[in-house]
Point group: none
Chain length 230, copies 2
């Protein structure tokens, strides 16, 4: 199985480093963040499979961070809290963490919990590591390799083209408005950029369609947007 990545979020460097060593020994990839804000950035940029989060942190505490993370992704979260902190309260709040460990903790126990959560997540969870390749009538999109092929023949797309194809393909059949496409791909508000998207669609068709004038894959839904044929 592919290496899994755990994000460790704690404001104390010693704790971050300690946890890192333990987890690395178990063969998981570790990345670190020192507060909730930083954690949010990291999960946007890197694929993370589990988060270990201290409850008490500057910037964005564990509970608030959990909340925001859940909006983005549904990956397991293990919370760390000092024993003297109001554990009952934390538990009672049903913050949405999948497990809790109180500090000071036995390292082996934390490792065990991490492995248990990862096992659950991988085996039956929201996680599909299975190559992540979308296939639609001969159009193939490999999410990890960021590679597209038509009938086995690989197609060279530019970054924006690729992102559009990935977006449409991973929700084949669903119609995306030009605004939606722009916002999801560029990650900024769309303002007078409709034509820009259209030009990219044109280029994509040029590359993946047999006949760009009669597209089989990227279809327009007049007045509403574009979709990838399911």
């Amino acid at each position: 199985m592919e290496k899994l990545t755990v994000l460790v979020v704690d404001d104390e460097k010693e704790i971050r480093d300690a946890i890192e060593i333990y987890l690395q020994n178990e063969g998981v990839e570790v990345i670190k963040a020192k507060d909730g804000m930083e954690a949010l950035e990291r999960i946007k940029q890197t694929e993370v499979h589990l988060i270990i989060l201290d409850v008490m942190m500057p910037k964005l505490d564990g509970i608030a961070a959990t909340y925001k993370i859940r909006v983005e992704k549904n990956i397991p979260i293990i919370m760390l809290s000092a024993k003297n902190e109001d554990t009952d309260k934390i538990l009672g709040l049903q913050v949405g963490a999948d497990d809790y460990v109180t500090k000071p903790f036995n390292p082996m126990e934390l490792v065990a919990r991490v492995k248990s959560q990862l096992r659950r997540y991988v085996s039956f969870g929201t996680y599909e590591d299975k190559q992540k390749v979308i296939d639609l009538h001969g159009l193939t999109v490999d999410i990890h390799a960021k590679a597209v092929a038509v009938n086995g023949e690989s197609i060279k797309l530019t970054p924006i083209e690729y992102k559009i194809v990935e977006l449409l393909s991973s929700h084949a059949g669903r119609v995306f408005s030009i605004h939606e496409i722009y916002e999801k791909v560029w990650k900024e508000p769309c303002y007078n950029a409709e034509n820009t998207v259209a030009v990219h669609i044109r280029k994509i068709r040029e590359k993946i369609e047999v006949d760009a004038k009669n597209p089989r894959y990227v279809k327009v839904v007049w007045g509403l947007g574009y979709k990838m044929e399911k």
Copy 2:
């Protein structure tokens, strides 16, 4: 089997010598160091198969030493700690060890733990039986030896270069964005460090590619990141 070597690190001479005698009786080679600094030097000079390390030491304490040792090699570490020392502190310091023994200890018990760890290490541990070697069209990455070779010829990489090669190679074909590479290798958020990664990529190519301008191994995927050719 060849004779195995154990490094004993403790600031008290009596303890070092006592352990030495017990272990020599069991037929293992013993070398000694009186603090973490000295231990690091020894490891570089001699091939060591296990380390016995006191938690409390001058110069470089147990955890700091463990951390540094782990970066270099993944050999088993047994930690010694006094019972009367502040438990919480010890808990933190013990991090990263494979086993713990509290002082005063029963010599036979320590010997037993040493043998057990060595057995694990040698038989199926990190030693060399578990040959994790990645081979990609002549590029060879030995994960445990942290060694890279091209067509049998060994290549000398710096630590960061090695980590990047390992990351890309162990997921050959998968595209890693510069941010992802930075975060996974440096273990900290990437901001404005894109060019740093690029320079390292350059250096890597200089070393492992026949023609750095036309790389066969480390390929760029324009606008998305880098990948190792599968």
